[in-house]
């Protein structure tokens, strides 16, 4: 796919829409679009992965492996969402696995190249990291709400405090 076309796609996705066009152009040059079929694994829990993904269409599920229970589905994500933050922020060892639950299109960007981009253009880097922080903070809040088990019959006794 042409870089221009890809930049156009990035401008449409909620995660990247607010980033400056110029930076997106450079990001587009380093990215590809990949189609994943329903049931296909994007990356595995615990694997090493060097890509950050933005969902263009379809839906992915994040799953964690629990011995004896198999893959437990934690969260589903749809168009405009980011997947694979461990590649960019961590050491590339994934804290959950991602699997397509519908045929999906994802924009794939190399985390190494993204880091270089951020280093070279700190303003772009700041905005990108702000988007990462925003997405992760929403997921953190969502996880806390899950932890509260609000719909349980008896109010849950799970402590509601959690370190930030």
């Amino acid at each position: 796919m042409e870089a221009d076309q890809l930049r156009f796609i990035l401008q449409e996705l909620r995660f990247s829409a607010v980033l400056p066009v110029e930076g997106l152009g450079r990001l587009a040059e380093e990215s590809t679009v990949r189609r994943v079929a329903a049931g296909e694994v994007v990356f595995r829990d615990g694997s090493t992965n060097n890509n950050l993904y933005l969902i263009r269409s379809g839906r992915l599920a994040l799953e964690m492996n629990v011995p004896g229970r198999g893959a437990v589905r934690i969260l589903t994500l749809g168009a405009g969402e980011m997947v694979g933050w461990s590649a960019l922020l961590g050491q590339g060892k994934m804290t959950a696995g991602a699997i397509a639950i519908e045929d999906s299109d994802v924009v794939v960007a190399s985390a190494d190249r993204l880091r270089e981009l951020c280093e070279a253009d700190r303003d772009f880097g700041f905005l990108l990291m702000r988007q990462m922080a925003d997405a992760l903070s929403k997921r953190l809040v969502a996880t806390r709400l899950q932890l509260l088990d609000l719909f349980a019959d008896a109010p849950s006794l799970i402590p509601t405090q959690q370190a930030d």
């Binding site: 749809g78 168009a79 929403k138 719909f151 019959d153």
Partner: protein, 291 residues
């Protein structure tokens, strides 16, 4: 038409005798999910039946002599006037006693009470309904009305979260609702094998909602208070104002008519100023712990 959506005020007769309970008989009981059933209640007295009308979001006080009286929202299509569905979760003493009753048995009903969903405000606007758990029940009459007068409204979105896939209320109706022009999205806190739907809390669905115009939207929300708080945060984040958001609140109620003092939240009485509030009316109070 818009007037037809307004809350029902008490008749002079009811206003003068707030404690008058009417006999209703259980016409049908449908098990919805584990611990939740819908009871269709019909008035025995013809005069009472003819006078009774409710607006979506209003509630009744259901009375089981000896056990007690509880506030329950009507979950039925307002066009049904023969019997009124009430969708009730077994929570304690009264609801457990009710669960032991069957078709034909009688109980007491006072109502309807409280404010209703702002359906006339929805005309010409997009509508987003966000609810959790049993919170879908008080919104079902609103959904029926929105779909009945479908052409009056913009895009309709229902975002519904439940604990797990086997606790989703009214699941058999989602296809109908979709066919009639409402986008229905569900999500569960806990995934189970075979569930291909969304996992995660309902606020995330709101964050991901692609098609609504924040400046021309009415959002209605009902569920556990914490869930509503975070839904409101997400809605404000996506550009809605407090004046576009409506929530349905819950507090202990003894009289349901503003005379017993139990249901106060700041300056409001949930029973008569609510249960449905425009968010800006309670925003200063809802976050204060123990108010």
């Amino acid at each position: 038409m818009s007037d037809g959506y307004a809350s029902r005020m008490p008749t002079p007769e009811a206003a003068a005798r707030p404690w008058q309970t009417h006999t209703v008989a259980i016409r049908d009981v449908r098990r919805e999910v584990e611990g939740v059933s819908t009871y269709d209640l019909a008035f025995l007295d013809d005069t009472v039946r003819e006078a009774y009308r409710f607006a979506p979001g209003q509630f009744n006080m259901l009375y089981l002599p000896g056990a007690g009286e509880i506030a329950i929202s009507v979950s039925d299509d307002p066009r049904n006037t023969e019997a009124y569905g009430h969708t009730i979760r077994v929570a304690g003493n009264v609801t457990r006693t009710l669960a032991g009753l069957g078709v034909g048995e009688t109980l007491g009903l006072r109502g309807p009470f409280g404010t209703s969903w702002p359906l006339s405000e929805c005309i010409g606007r997009d509508v987003v309904i966000v609810c959790g758990g049993i919170g879908l029940a008080p919104l079902r009459p609103a959904i029926c009305t929105l779909l009945q007068d479908r052409q009056q409204f913009g895009r309709l979105n229902l975002l519904y979260g439940a604990r797990s896939s086997d606790t989703l209320l009214f699941e058999r109706e989602y296809d109908d609702w979709s066919r009639q022009g409402m986008d229905v999205q569900t999500t569960v806190d806990r995934s189970s094998p075979g569930w291909l739907g969304n996992v995660g809390v309902v606020t995330l669905l709101l964050d991901q909602l692609p098609s609504f115009d924040p400046h021309n939207t009415v959002l209605m929300c009902c569920g556990p208070e914490v869930m509503m708080k975070f839904t409101v945060m997400a809605a404000l984040n996506s550009g809605l104002s407090e004046q576009q958001i409506w929530v349905s609140m819950e507090r202990n109620m003894q009289c349901a008519v503003g005379l017993c003092g139990h249901c106060q939240l700041g300056p409001t009485f949930i029973c008569k100023d609510g249960p449905v509030f425009r968010y800006d009316k309670i925003a200063p109070f809802i976050d204060v712990e123990g108010l």
